[in-house]
């Protein structure tokens, strides 16, 4: 379902991704771990189509379609979702307006009926409840004044509303307290289904206790340098990256 082949990407002429290969089957959860600065967020931004990231070689296919030529909004319509490592604050744009605009844009692009205000409110309320987000937060501007943990929950809320085929979660666990981690993990698990795949970027084994990955990969210096089963994460937690990264170099 997701096929990333020999992906090379640069920022300002500096190559960050250096031939990255990754395949994720339908319904699978893959975890990506790796040292700081390895290129994990770069991978997520390149997939989402952020400006300033130049793909020099390779491809990334979602259900057989190369998404790298699409605009970010087209990728979202095609079923991609990125939960940001650092969610962006947007003063003046109310959460409700934002969710309604996003959801209807995506539904429209997917050829589905747009949701009216009442339908949206209902959906929003039930998802908020599942994720322990207060209704009051939906009246505030997008991410403005949200705590670190609230921002992360808000990312998962958006994911739950937009129902992507493929979601990339970039350190969605960082900044969450122990209870919130469980709530967010439950939120993700609730979305797991046969047709939906996840790429979970994390530094900590703890998240993977809750969201059991099918595969774990180590990303270092712009490449996947090692792949394995869920046990690989435990091994990394014990021994760190030194051996693996050393081996690859």
């Amino acid at each position: 379902m997701i096929k990333i082949k020999n992906l090379h990407a640069e920022i300002d002429g500096t190559e960050i991704l250096k031939g990255l290969d990754l395949e994720i089957g339908a319904g699978e959860v893959h975890a990506v771990m790796g040292p700081n600065g390895a290129g994990k967020s770069t991978l997520s931004y390149v997939l989402a189509g952020r400006d300033g990231y130049e793909v020099t070689e390779g491809s990334a296919e979602l259900d057989g379609v190369n998404i790298l030529d699409m605009d970010p909004d087209e990728r979202a319509a095609a079923g991609l979702f990125l939960a940001f490592q650092y969610p962006v604050e947007i003063p003046g744009v109310q959460m409700t307006t934002f969710l309604k605009t996003a959801l209807n844009a995506v539904r429209k692009a997917r050829g589905e009926d747009e949701l009216d205000a009442i339908g949206l409110l209902k959906l929003m309320k039930s998802k908020c409840k599942e994720l322990g987000i207060s209704d009051e937060m939906m009246k505030r501007a997008v991410n403005v004044g949200f705590s670190g943990g609230e921002k992360k929950r808000n990312e998962v809320l958006q994911m739950a509303m937009l129902e992507p085929k493929f979601a990339v979660l970039d350190e969605t666990d960082s900044g969450l307290d122990i209870d919130a981690l469980k709530v967010v993990a439950d939120g993700v698990n609730a979305l797991r289904s046969e047709g939906r795949s996840f790429l979970v970027i994390t530094h900590y084994q703890r998240l993977l206790d809750y969201i059991k990955p099918d595969h774990v990969h180590v990303l270092a210096k712009g490449k996947i340098v090692k792949s394995g089963s869920a046990d690989l994460a435990l091994e990394l937690e014990k021994n760190g990256y030194a051996d693996i990264v050393g081996e690859a170099a």
């Binding site: 989402a48 189509g49 952020r50 400006d51 605009d71 970010p72 909004d73 990728r75 979202a76 319509a77 979702f81 990125l82 940001f84 969610p87 962006v88 604050e89 947007i90 003063p91 003046g92 744009v93 307006t97 934002f98 605009t101 996003a102 959801l103 844009a105 995506v106 692009a109 501007a141 997008v142 958006q158 937009l162």
Partner: protein, 422 residues
């Protein structure tokens, strides 16, 4: 210390004919007026002969070149097309109302700031005096509170020059709302002078929606005198005209008076929008807030010159002035000149100005949620403008302004049709 800076002008009276070429026929046509009106016209005429129209050599007109517009476009004098509706009970129409005007209003008109020549750059006011004939008088007695607004629609027809003078007096403790709509159909110039007098505890909401044709010129000169504990709320939406000027002079004359002079500019193509505001704190415990937001595309040029002048007597002044600008194109230009002049020691005054582009991170975030770029941009621009729009306290007007802003944002894509005049 003089109250207001006096500009040493190098008058270029040779442009006087641009303003006065139609005057003889105007004056011959509109003779049924009292002597004092004829005298005022003549005085205006003489002043313009002597001083001409304001040129860019004058400090407050540095970015505003009306003579260039008038050189390019030949206009003929026309009677102003004014339509009134809504609350019209205390309204009288000029020139008919001039015949039995109270002495007080008469002297208000005659002894305008021009009479004292305080500024040295009030040639547009002089020009309005020269062509003094059309306009409305709203004279509301004390203790009247009106819910329904007075709507004034002024239409500028193609190839015409029109002048309006409006006098608005709100009696003690009365409350009134005025909404002005400016629409024109083509190349034209509308020169307006509005004088406002607010009695003790009076409240006036004064909204101005300027959607003139993009080839037209508009010059608004507003002078407001605010009495004790009175309240003046102004909001100006500038969307039209090739060349527009919104000059406001507020005098807070009674203790505890408040004024809010806000607005938004949404201009594109080769449009030029100039906002020049002077607020004088002449009494203690007064509040003044100026809050402008501008969105500019194409090669548009905006100017914001705001000044807060706090007189020695005006202790406990709370003065605030802010201009924020969103530049949607690299070729748009914002000129900002905020000024504070403070002669009292116990005051709270601040000013600030920002100009920047749309937040790229925010744009990407919205797009990553499936919102197409044009829609995402519109959402961010609307959010930017909303911060000032939401300060409009009249709900109906606020909704109108929101709709106009939304429409502008939708049409803006490919809407660089403001041909401009240069």
């Amino acid at each position: 210390m003089s109250a207001v800076t006096k500009f040493t002008a190098r008058y270029k009276a040779d442009n006087a004919d641009l303003a006065l070429s139609e005057w003889d026929s105007f004056n011959a046509e509109h003779t049924q007026v009292p002597d004092w009106v004829s005298a005022l016209r003549k005085r205006g005429f003489d002043k313009v002969i002597q001083q001409g129209l304001p040129t860019t050599k004058l400090e407050r007109f540095k970015y505003f070149n009306l003579p260039a517009y008038l050189k390019k476009n030949e206009l003929i004098y026309a009677k102003a097309d004014i339509v009134l509706d809504g609350f019209t009970e205390y309204v009288r129409v000029l020139p008919e109302a001039l015949n039995d005007l109270s002495e007080e209003l008469k002297s208000t008109i005659i002894l305008s700031p021009v009479g004292e020549d305080k500024y040295g750059d009030m040639m547009l006011w002089d020009t309005a005096n020269a062509y003094f004939n059309d306009g409305v008088i709203l004279d509301v007695p004390a203790d009247k509170s009106v819910d329904k607004p007075l709507n004034i629609t002024i239409t500028g027809h193609g190839n015409t020059a029109t002048t309006t003078r409006n006098i608005i007096r709100i009696g003690d403790h009365s409350e009134v709302t005025i909404v002005e709509y400016h629409i024109s159909s083509n190349v034209s110039w509308h020169n307006n002078v509005t004088q406002i007098l607010l009695g003790k505890g009076a409240r006036l909401k004064h909204y101005r929606i300027q959607e003139n044709n993009k080839n037209s010129a508009y010059t608004g000169n507003t002078h407001v005198q605010i009495g004790q504990n009175a309240y003046y709320e102004a909001f100006t939406l500038t969307k039209g005209s090739a060349l527009s000027r919104n000059q406001v002079h507020v005098e807070l004359q009674g203790a505890g008076a408040e004024c809010f002079v806000n607005g938004i500019n949404m201009i594109s193509g080769k449009q030029q929008g100039d906002t020049t505001i002077t607020v004088e704190h002449q009494a203690p415990n007064c509040i003044s807030k100026q809050n402008y937001r501008s969105v500019m595309d194409g090669q548009a040029v905006c100017t914001f010159q705001g000044k807060v002048h706090v007189h020695e007597i005006a202790q406990k002044t709370d003065g605030y002035q802010l201009s924020n600008t969103l530049l949607l194109s690299p070729t748009a230009t914002m000129n900002t000149k905020p000024e504070l002049e403070i002669y009292a020691d116990d005051v709270k005054c601040s000013h600030g100005a920002t100009a920047g582009n749309l937040d790229k991170e925010a744009l990407f975030y919205l797009q990553s949620r499936g919102i197409p770029e044009a829609e995402a941009r519109a959402l961010l621009i609307k959010a930017f403008l909303e911060e000032v729009i939401e300060q409009i306290t009249d709900e109906a007007v606020r909704e109108q302004v929101e709709l106009i802003a939304e429409k502008w944002l939708i049409l803006r894509t490919g809407d660089n049709d403001g041909e401009g005049w240069l």
